[in-house]
């Protein structure tokens, strides 16, 4: 599916829309504590903003936006962020994923939980975004040789 869309309207329209969708994805992740939202939904929106460029302008041109070889290491990094948060709490003397023991000074336990939830949501968002992009890239690559 490397043949790009022939119409320039589609190309420029997706280029115009993609940063705003990405911004909305970040808003959904970081505002997930106060409104419906969170890591899964925001990660999906980020993936949509990447896939829009990939569908409209072809995989080759979309490498300028997000490199294909970055997807698997970033997905692993998301899992490591989540697991590392839990392991840090475990090392500092609490239970696994017990955010009260995180080594952030000067915060009472309830706000430590607040920040702990935000950190793991970032990890979830990173993993969901990169895995959805990875699935699309691999499906396109598998189709090319058919």
């Amino acid at each position: 599916m490397t043949n790009k869309s022939s119409s320039p309207i589609v190309l420029y329209g997706t280029r115009f829309l993609s940063p705003y969708i990405m911004l909305f994805g970040f808003y959904v992740i970081f505002h997930g504590h106060y409104s419906p939202g969170g890591g899964f939904q925001g990660g999906t929106l980020l993936a949509v903003s990447l896939l829009l460029i990939r569908i409209a302008s072809g995989t080759d041109l979309a490498q300028l936006q997000f490199k294909e070889y970055l997807t698997t290491p970033l997905a692993a990094l998301g899992v490591v962020i989540y697991f590392g948060t839990g392991l840090t709490a475990l090392i500092m003397g609490g239970y696994f994923l017990d955010y009260e023991e995180l080594p952030i000074p000067g915060l009472e336990p309830a706000y430590l939980r607040y920040w702990g939830i935000l950190i793991i949501e970032l990890g979830i968002g990173l993993t969901v975004m990169t895995v959805l992009t990875l699935i699309y890239d691999n499906m396109v690559k598998g189709e090319d040789y058919a």
Binding site: I135, M139, G142, E143
Partner: protein, 122 residues
């Protein structure tokens, strides 16, 4: 009678969705259509759980000013929402794996029809 209908029509709707999904998975011969049936079945299950979590006169489970959390009937049950949120994303990942397998099958055998596939394998 009207009360009985108003209390149950959402359940009946999800049951009909389950039946459509099962029909797609069992009767259709094309593998892509079977996958679409699987997706419809999953949507039925998710809608059933979310409709169970609903309460009349309640609002979404985000704490608002003026609605005390000690009064449980102010907020909907948040547990099914959480479970279905993760189930949706896992469903998307499952669909990705299913389509990867389908692409692999098509590259090797050149067809997606179930009976033709069985003939070619033997």
């Amino acid at each position: 009678m009207l009360d009985f209908f108003m209390g149950h029509y959402a359940y009946w709707f999800t049951m009909i969705l389950l039946a459509i999904g099962l029909y797609g998975m069992l009767i259709k011969k094309n593998l892509v259509k079977k996958t679409i049936g699987l997706s419809i079945f999953q949507a039925g299950v998710i809608l059933f759980f979310v409709s169970v979590a609903m309460k009349w006169g309640a609002t979404v489970p985000v704490k608002a000013d003026g609605l005390p959390v000690s009064e449980v009937s102010n907020y909907m049950n948040a547990l099914p929402h959480t479970l279905m949120l993760t189930a949706i994303v896992v469903g998307v990942a499952t669909l990705g794996v299913a389509y990867a397998l389908i692409i692999k099958i098509y590259n090797r055998y050149g067809t997606l029809d179930e009976e033709e596939l069985l003939d070619k394998i033997q």
